[in-house]
């Protein structure tokens, strides 16, 4: 009874997965049926390409910094959402919107908020006399600002996901334990850092690892906001693979670029499984 589903997955995930490796050592192009084995040529080429090296660095910068921000933000937010308060359901809905709304659509909202001329952020900063209207920051047009913008927008998108996972972990802690600590005289922060957070560690691992996988392999926010620009300074591995392999028609080189996702994926998946398993056992 499970064979049809397994076959479907093998045919459209397993086979393409292997094909990605086959293409990466070939000279396949869009629209051509012939291709030859070229060994590691594609890998040597991309490792000599400064844009690729940049995208590799950016991928790590993008993933690590957004996940740190997500972790801090979602922990604080989960704590604030733990206890019942009036309007909790509505607030939860508002907070979840960035995750549940289609990410391309949410990013488009940010593209308008970060517009070079009509940005509302710039408007506020001008009113506060922090920036000059005629020398306003180009949020998506200057390399450093653009990188910062895509990281923050991605953080905005991922934070709700981590928050609800942490919230699930938080509500699973028996309330007697922090209460007992409070009776013994432990303050809020002491209880937090010595009891609550250690007890939540397995679930925090799960949230961070899944978040890291989704972030490292995503290109939607970057595609919508900057298309990897200005001058490829916000390019990441997935977007670089897309521009090379699909738009540039060089399937082989695109496949070779996307292969660089695999090691990180394997490590993160292994750690995620291990921490989920450990959480179940103890």
């Amino acid at each position: 009874m499970f064979m049809p589903a397994i076959l479907y997955i093998v045919a459209l995930v397993g086979v393409p997965f292997v094909m990605a490796f086959v293409y990466s050592v070939s000279d396949a192009k869009v629209g051509s049926v012939h291709y030859h084995f070229v060994g590691l040529k594609n890998f040597i080429d991309i490792l000599h390409n400064p844009t690729f090296i940049r995208s590799l660095e950016n991928s790590f910068l993008f993933t690590i910094s957004s996940q740190i921000l997500v972790l801090i933000g979602s922990t604080i937010l989960a704590l604030a959402l733990r206890d019942a308060f009036p309007g909790r359901r509505f607030l939860r809905f508002l907070i979840l919107l960035p995750w549940v709304a289609p990410v391309s659509i949410g990013s488009l909202g940010w593209k308008w908020i970060l517009d070079s001329l009509y940005s509302v952020i710039t408007w506020v900063l001008v009113r506060m006399h922090l920036v000059n209207q005629f020398d306003a920051p180009m949020w998506l047009g200057e390399p450093k600002l653009a990188m910062m913008s895509v990281i923050l927008v991605h953080t905005w998108h991922m934070m709700p996901f981590a928050t609800v996972i942490l919230l699930a972990g938080l509500t699973a802690i028996p309330s007697e334990i922090p209460e007992a600590a409070a009776v013994d005289g432990a303050g809020f922060f002491r209880t937090l850092f010595q009891i609550t957070i250690p007890m939540m560690l397995p679930i925090i691992n799960v949230a961070v690892l899944f978040g890291a996988i989704f972030t490292f392999t995503d290109m939607t926010v970057i595609y919508i906001l900057t298309r990897g620009g200005p001058y490829d300074t916000t390019q990441v591995i997935p977007s670089e693979a897309f521009f090379t392999g699909i738009l540039g028609s060089d399937l082989a080189e695109g496949a070779a670029i996307s292969i660089f996702l695999v090691p990180v994926l394997v490590i993160a998946a292994y750690l995620a499984l291990r921490s989920a398993h450990r959480a179940e056992v103890t």
Binding site: A5, Y8, A20, L77, W112
Partner: protein, 282 residues
């Protein structure tokens, strides 16, 4: 005692600050979509105006433009159609598979289940290059059917994983009893298990559908003509004419797309999170 009460008040105030600040930051883009949708262009384009409020009376022009002069309606229908077919494929394949895996004796079922779940983590940005060849071989390039065939690659693993948990919670004795009473394994599955897991199946329906509406990379890769596009790609790529952004209509499209999907998803979110955290919170 007084100090402890004072501390509690401070904590409470801090919690509310966190709730309000995070709620405002996370929901802000959606407020921005809302206000932009109904603003006149002259209001939007006047830098002297306070952008947070209506400086001129609201208008329905952007909505009119969106529905009468763009393919937005078409994209919504395309997405709904794709979602419907993907949901059917997912149910037909995932429900029996999940039941069979949940009932497999020994460690086998669990191992296979984890294997299936791991395929959910293989990202579109690794598979899109080989899959674009597969789609071309099937003769589906630039049709809506290309994404309909490919989307079950991510709806299936998650649905199987979710439903496995569901079937496991139904005691095995029940199907054994049914089979003693003369039903075949298939009969027990159809007459007993499916009716008992309606809520699980409904969850899968909602998730498969929302995952389809949120997908971006595959639709961007496989579909190149505007008329066949889904809403998630159509709005950010084809609603922009040349360099001109019609922000009012764009934000109207964003708002109309994200809020219903958000509400739908939000209703079933807890189950989705259970799928990720697995046993980790129990």
């Amino acid at each position: 005692m007084a100090r402890r009460r004072q501390r509690k008040v401070v904590l409470n105030v801090a919690m509310w600050c966190v709730r309000i600040v995070f709620g405002a930051l996370l929901a802000f883009p959606f407020y921005w979509m809302l206000i932009t949708t109904f603003k006149r262009n002259t209001d939007l384009n006047n830098l002297k105006n306070n952008p947070f409020i209506f400086n001129e009376p609201p208008t329905l022009d952007h909505l009119r433009l969106l529905f009468h002069e763009t393919m937005f309606g078409r994209w919504v229908l395309n997405t709904a159609f794709a979602g419907l077919i993907v949901v059917i494929i997912t149910l037909v394949l995932a429900v029996p598979a999940a039941y069979a895996l949940a009932r497999l004796t020994g460690n086998w079922g669990a191992q296979l289940g984890i294997g299936v779940f791991l395929t959910y983590l293989v990202p579109p940005t690794l598979l899109f290059i080989p899959l674009s060849k597969v789609v071309a071989m099937l003769g589906l390039q630039d049709t809506l059917w290309s994404v309909i065939v490919v989307y079950p690659t991510f709806t299936l693993p998650f649905s199987i994983w979710l439903l496995m948990g569901f079937f496991k919670s139904i005691p095995k004795d029940l199907d054994d009893a049914a089979m003693v009473d003369g039903l075949t394994r298939w009969g027990a599955f159809v007459k007993l298990m499916i009716p008992m897991s309606v809520s699980g199946i409904l969850t899968v329906v909602i998730f498969a559908f929302t995952l389809v509406t949120q997908e971006f990379v595959y639709a961007l890769t496989f579909i190149s003509s505007a008329a066949n596009q889904t809403v998630g790609v159509g709005v950010p790529t084809y609603l922009v004419r040349g360099d001109v952004y019609y922000w009012g209509s764009l934000m109207a499209a964003c708002l109309i797309t994200s809020v219903p999907i958000g509400i739908l998803y939000n209703t079933f979110l807890d189950r989705f999170i259970e799928g990720f955290t697995g046993g980790a919170v129990k």
